[in-house]
């Protein structure tokens, strides 16, 4: 399913044939941006054959652990790092937003091509309160749509995942009841529905059973041709899940000093409500000057040229002001 093993084998084989001067950069962390980072590694290697980037998609939690333990050159996390976690890194940590994604409500409802989901319905479905597709809460927002009297089957991620984190964070913000009953985490317990393992598991659940709705990464839903609901944002507009509205969300974010922020409930009229950055974790200081140079150059490549791969892989390119701030943060790495 994932291209990772092949890349690793490829990297290992390339490593065998490379001269001893080849610079190895090893990273580990979040699985969500892995396809993009690995693509960067491959493309960057074409331009700089003497640098090999090996990114392992082990999950955000494990990425932070490896980074803290100092066994990788850089880490990656969808949940950034908390202040307490940063304090545990002896060499200090710099967070660099590297790309962004959206979490979408993908659904399977024959005959319903477009679907507007008001905020009440988004939380209500996952709380098990909105149980039929023709529920007045949904019907009200979709005049003219032929909503069947079909039970709503809910699909969620059964494995711990940054996707679930971003998703539950948004629903907890817009619904006090959701916050109280379910809360925010990488794995939570929903009162309804069925769990699929990984984005592919949830995708299969949605595809196979008419009446199913679930949350997946935008890139995954797009790649599998799933229908995606338009979500009601803070200003009350229904916004389609696509690159344009996601970019609007990110453009309106005011990055704080430490570059760690979630647009949990963006206010702009065209902002897609559930979007999130994902971060590269770099040390403040590197002892090896050659490694430092290669790493900085690689990350700069990712922030500039690398952003052009975002669209085709289903990510949202970083807006220019974010790239500038990320570059400034990168400059502080020594």
């Amino acid at each position: 399913m994932k291209p990772l093993p092949f890349l690793l084998i490829g990297a290992a084989l390339a490593g065998l044939s490379a001269t001893s001067q080849a610079q190895q950069l090893s990273g580990a962390g979040a699985s969500f941006p892995a396809p993009l980072y690995q693509r960067w590694g491959v493309e960057y290697n074409k331009l700089h054959p003497d640098v090999q980037v090996n990114y392992q998609s082990v999950g955000s939690g494990a990425g932070v652990k490896n980074f803290t333990a100092g066994v990788v050159d850089f880490g990656a996390s969808d949940a950034a790092m908390s202040d307490a976690e940063i304090a545990k890194v002896p060499k200090g940590a710099v967070l660099i937003p590297a790309t962004a994604g959206e979490v979408v409500f993908a659904y399977n409802l024959p005959g319903v091509e477009t679907l507007n989901l008001p905020r009440e319905a988004m939380a209500g479905i996952f709380l098990g309160k909105v149980t039929k597709w023709n529920d007045p809460v949904i019907a009200k927002a979709n005049p003219g749509a032929k909503l069947p009297e079909l039970p709503i089957m809910v699909a969620y991620r059964s494995d711990g995942s940054g996707t679930t984190y971003v998703f539950t964070q948004h629903l907890s913000t817009i619904s006090p009841e959701f916050k109280e009953k379910i809360g925010t985490d990488k794995s939570v317990t929903f009162p309804v529905g069925v769990g699929g393992k990984g984005n592919e598991g949830v995708t299969a659940l949605i595809k196979q059973t008419p009446g199913t709705i679930g949350y997946v990464e935008y890139g995954y839903a797009k790649g599998n041709g799933l229908a995606m609901a338009s979500l009601q944002n803070k200003s009350g507009n229904f916004v389609a899940a696509d690159g344009e509205h996601g970019a609007s969300t990110l453009a309106n974010v005011q990055l704080p000093e430490n570059l760690r922020i979630w647009p949990v409930d963006p206010e702009g009229a065209n902002d897609y409500p559930i979007a999130s950055f994902t971060w590269l974790l770099l040390y403040k200081k590197y002892d090896d000057a050659a490694k430092l140079k290669a790493l900085k150059d690689f990350v700069t490549y990712g922030l500039t040229t690398g952003q052009s791969f975002s669209e085709e892989l289903g990510y949202i390119p970083l807006p220019a002001p974010v790239v500038e701030k990320a570059k400034a943060a990168l400059a502080t790495v020594q």
Partner: protein, 316 residues
């Protein structure tokens, strides 16, 4: 004896091989035992904070809520035991029937050989492939059956709706297929090992083929068949990937076979990667429980095996 005393040197040389072999066997078996002890030690130490915090309540509690640091595995224990036993319910009759069929001369030997090979090939299919096959083939079928069952048999608790594709029944059906080669291969070996004289004796007394099979051959082979079933049960309990992909991974308890459920192994596979803090300890506690359950099943199997062996000792 006399040779040893008269000329010890060549004999010492001759013994180098066996002694080395003896030592190697010792090391190998000691390593196996030590590895098991080490694994259990690691699991217990990692699980210790959760054991201290939750105690035995962990086994009886039904809520697994990582973000509230509330952990209990009762639904997963029930799911593990239920899915394995339902799988055995499907796999045992089918596997035993295949084993009998393959051990008798209903078909020419080459044809039987082919069937046997195909059944045993099932064991070579990776778990994740069974999982994918389950998603794309078994789930749609179970979904059709489920909708029918809810409509027509909905009054029975095990068929109460709504019917999900990812359900206890789906996981059990795929598990049954996965353990079928274990049941078949070991049962077939036990059946073919029944002495020819016994079979001929039964025929000589005027028994028909079915009387011989049911009255003589099956009882004689019973210990092997029991062993096959228990090994298969052990495998079903520990099976991870295919189950995690198919069972629906829910911690809600339900009587319905058509509802999603969860197993201990599936829980570990799902949550270990991103778990932190007490969640890791609790997952280790769950792993310990899984080890204890499978150990219990194997000990029980051994006891049943010994009992049936002693019961059938007279006719062997």
């Amino acid at each position: 004896m006399s040779r040893e005393s008269s000329d010890s040197k060549p004999i010492a040389e001759v013994r180098v091989g066996p002694d080395l072999f003896h030592a190697l066997c010792w090391v190998a078996s000691a390593l196996a035992v030590a590895t098991l002890a080490w694994i259990i030690y690691e699991i217990v130490t990692s699980a210790w904070p959760a054991i201290q915090k939750f105690g035995f309540g962990f086994l009886g509690s039904s809520s697994w809520v990582p973000n509230r640091e509330v952990f209990g595995v009762f639904p997963f224990i029930v799911g593990t035991v239920a899915s394995s036993f339902i799988a055995i319910l499907f796999a045992f009759p089918l596997g035993l029937a295949i084993a009998i069929f393959l051990s008798e001369n209903f078909l020419p030997a080459p044809v039987r050989q082919v069937i046997r090979f195909v059944v045993e090939m099932l064991a070579a299919i990776p778990s994740v492939v069974f999982g994918l096959w389950g998603i794309f083939v078994v789930i749609p079928i179970i979904k059709i059956f489920g909708d029918w069952a809810v409509k027509n048999l909905g009054g029975v608790p095990i068929f109460s709706g709504p019917a999900y594709g990812n359900s206890m029944l789906t996981a059990s059906v795929v598990l049954a297929l996965m353990i079928l080669p274990t049941v078949t291969a070991i049962s077939r070996n036990a059946l073919t090992a029944v002495p020819k004289t016994l079979r001929e004796g039964a025929y000589a007394l005027g028994a028909t083929r079915w009387e011989a099979i049911l009255g003589v051959i099956l009882p004689t082979a019973a210990p092997g068949v029991v062993a096959a079933t228990i090994l298969a049960l052990g495998r079903a309990m520990g099976e991870t990937m295919a189950v995690a992909m198919l069972i629906g991974n829910s911690s809600r308890l339900s009587w319905s076979l058509l509802s999603p459920g969860g197993t201990l192994a599936g829980l570990l596979a799902n949550q270990f990667g991103e778990a932190e803090g007490l969640q890791v300890n609790s997952l280790m506690y769950a792993a310990l429980i899984l080890v204890v359950i499978t150990l219990f099943v194997n000990v029980l199997g051994e006891l049943v095996l010994r009992y049936t062996q002693s019961q059938t000792a007279g006719i062997r």
